[in-house]
C-alpha cells in the first residue's frame, strides 16, 4: 500500500508564527505536491517538487515556501502565518503514471 503521512492532523497557530507542515512518503515517487482545500474552491496547487531540491510554483504560491532536502520528505512553510491561510492542506505524491496518492491532510487554523 502507498503510504503518505503528514505531520499533524490538526494544528492551531497564531498570526505571525512560522509554520512547518511536513509530508513523508514511502514509495520513492519523484513528484510531490502541496494543495490547499477550501469549500467551494476544490483543491488548489501551492507548490510541487519533481526531484530533491527542485521545486516549482503552483497556482497559489504567495505566502508559502517549500523545502525538499530528501526524496521522501516535502515540507510546506508558512513564513508568517495569516488568518487567510486557515485551510485544509493536502500532500500528494506521484510518478510519471496517472494518479496521485494523497496524505490524510492537515487542518490548520490560524488565530
Amino acid at each position: 500500500d502507498v503510504k503518505v503521512t503528514q505531520s499533524s492532523r490538526y494544528l492551531v497557530k497564531r498570526t505571525g508564527e512560522k509554520v512547518f507542515l511536513e509530508c513523508v512518503q514511502d514509495m520513492d515517487h519523484e513528484n510531490m505536491f502541496w494543495y490547499r482545500q477550501d469549500p467551494g474552491l476544490g483543491l488548489r496547487l501551492i507548490y510541487f517538487s519533481y526531484d530533491v531540491k527542485m521545486k516549482e510554483k503552483g497556482d497559489i504560491p504567495e505566502g508559502y515556501s517549500v523545502s525538499r532536502e530528501k526524496k521522501e520528505r516535502f515540507s510546506l512553510i508558512l513564513e508568517s502565518a495569516s488568518t487567510n491561510q486557515t485551510s485544509m492542506y493536502l500532500c500528494a505524491i506521484g510518478r510519471y503514471s496517472y494518479e496521485q496518492y494523497f496524505g490524510p491532510g492537515t487542518r490548520l487554523t490560524v488565530t
Partner: protein, 119 residues
Amino acid sequence: AQTVTQSQPEMSVQEAETVTLSCTYDTSESDYYLFWYKQPPSRQMILVIRQEAYKQQNATENRFSVNFQKAAKSFSLKISDSQLGDAAMYFCAYRSVRAGGTSYGKLTFGQGTILTVHP
C-alpha cells in the same frame, strides 16, 4: 490554462439507487487524463476511476462508470447500487499528458460535489 467545473455542490441518493455526478472541463489540449477522486469524511482522498482522453471506451470500475463526451468536454460519474459507504465529497480532476515543464503531473480540480446516501 485548464479549468474544471462541477456545477452540483450537493447531491443525494437513496441506498441501492443510481446517481450521476457532473463535471465539465475546458482545455485546448487533445490528449489528457481525467479522474474522479473520493474524499470520505475521514479525509483521505482516494482515486475512484480514471479515463484517458484518447480512449473512446468509457472507463468502468465495479459500480462506478463514467460517461466521457470529449467533444462536449463532459465527464460525468455514475454510481450504481449506491451504498452508505459511497457518501463522500467527489472531485473531478484533469491532468495534462505532458510530463515535463510546469505540468509534472499537476492535477486541476473541480469544486467538489458532496454526495449524501440515504438509507
